[in-house]
Amino acid sequence: MVSISANVADSKPGATNGTQQDDRPPGGGAPILQIRGVSCSPQRDAAGTLDLDVRDGEFFCVVGPPRCGKTALMRVLAGLDIPSSGSMLVHGRPAAWGVPALGFTLAENTLFPWLTVRENLSLALSVGRRRHADPWHVDALLGNFGLLEVAKWRPDALPAPTRRMVELCRALVRDPPLVLLDEPFHGLDFEDRNALADELERVWGICRKTFVLFTQNIAVGVRLADRVSIMSGRPARLAVPVAVPLPRPRRNGSPQEQADLMGHLLDIYESGPRDQAA
């Protein structure tokens, strides 16, 4: 497997590496994303309204069972679908539905196999209304992520966690205020999951962006997030977020603390957000 943590020294000025995130406010800063009364499920019996506040710079995690509407919510936030109701504020300003304004990665592999890693990133810069194709920018970003050594590789030649990181890198190349990650651990084995979790935590520290991760795995939330919100389906509902006040990096964190938090979240997961919110 290609190491994607080899080039941290190339970090852009002001960036920190994955082990130095102490200047970031715990749990993030001011709200960067607010949604109110959003209903995005195509199924009538699963319809529910969702409210969510994500703070600037935090790593937020939405955890829910399969088919509870996580992906539907993610697609609405990404501007790929339009909800039946609700409003969204980004940096306090109303955002139009159906217009992609945030970065995102999908559960499927969306890297184009006929392009190299560098070309995949450059493509994201060279299309659209805001064109600013700058190879140096792409290479700087790849360098920060430790991906410069695979810049000429085709995606199919990369191991799965590296491919995921390239997708994240591509989502960041247009400098969005926030990145949505839909099931990034989907289909990975245990070892690859751990490798990807380490890299996500490290890169989040480097790029100083807000990450919102959608997953069905509570352990992922406890491993990576500042706050975790449990989502339930039929009707779709988001619980009051639970803070995860564990020190970073969390790879070698206290198993007991993580287990306690997971137990608490599991209670919410099983009893449902409605009871917890009450």
Partner: protein, 260 residues
């Protein structure tokens, strides 16, 4: 010895074996003259320039007449098919309107309609070119329609995330994804275009290998006919091989595992 060399040697051995068998049959069974010429007489016909007894032309202009027109028709029909397919895909109702015609003339009906093309266009070079283009056009329309729709929805989502416009999505996503389909169709259509040209020449359009082969057959000069077939087959196969090579070069990513 690597696989390619072994394949080439085995192919050459198979070819040589077939020619030896042919020579043995010709020698041992001694068929009446005009039924089965010997390999040497075919080689002699090739060496003499593949000429009919009273003709003064050799096979080089004949090759140009068949393959030049075939390639030109193939390119015209291919480009037209891709353009029409791309236009049809922009409007589903129009595509549905034309779908029966594409299905009807895309297969064997296209070949069977060859005499009609000659009837309408006359027995000249233009008709030959039109027939090659006609037989290339419909497979390319079908391949374009299928290829331009082949990109999975998540790739379109990614392009939407980059705020790509419709033309940008077409050029940067749909067209590359369609390339394998288009290359395969172009390779297949090359054979059809050549069949169209040879049929036109058999039916009476002068100035090509097909017409020359036909004249040899009429004159019971089977050595000349087989020499013509040999030239036709070798050059057609060489061009098909070049197309396959080009296809592999532009679609190196096809068939590789795409992962999760």
């Amino acid at each position: 010895m690597n696989g390619t060399v072994r394949k080439l040697l085995l192919g050459a051995a198979g070819l040589a074996g077939g020619i030896v068998c042919w020579a043995l049959i010709q020698r041992l069974l001694a068929p009446p003259p005009g039924i089965l010429p010997s390999p040497w007489s075919v080689v002699r016909a090739l060496g003499n320039g593949f000429v009919v007894a009273d003709a003064d032309e050799n096979w080089i202009p004949l090759v140009a007449g068949t393959f030049g027109i075939g390639l030109a028709g193939w390119m015209v029909g291919g480009l037209a098919g891709i353009a029409v397919g791309a236009l049809l895909i922009a409007c589903r109702p129009v595509e549905d309107l034309f779908r029966p015609w594409i299905a009807l003339f895309g297969g064997v009906t296209g070949v069977a309609a060859s005499p009609l093309v000659l009837y309408w266009g006359g027995f000249d070079v233009g008709s030959k070119l039109a027939l090659a283009a006609w037989l290339t056009f419909f497979p390319l329309v079908r391949a374009t329609l299928a290829g331009l729709r082949a990109a999975p929805a998540c790739w379109h989502d990614a392009m939407r995330g980059f705020l790509a416009s419709g033309p940008e999505t077409f050029l940067r996503l749909r067209l590359p994804v369609a390339l394998p389909s288009l290359c395969g169709a172009l390779r297949g259509a090359w054979t059809l275009a050549l069949v169209g040209v040879v049929i036109a020449e058999f039916l009476g359009v002068p100035g090509g290998l097909g017409a020359q082969i036909s004249q040899h057959e009429v004159a019971f000069d089977l050595a000349g006919a087989i020499a013509g077939l040999t030239v036709l087959g070798v050059i057609a196969t060489a061009i098909a091989g070049a197309l396959s090579w080009a296809e592999r070069e532009v679609t190196t990513w096809v068939g590789l595992p795409q992962g999760i």
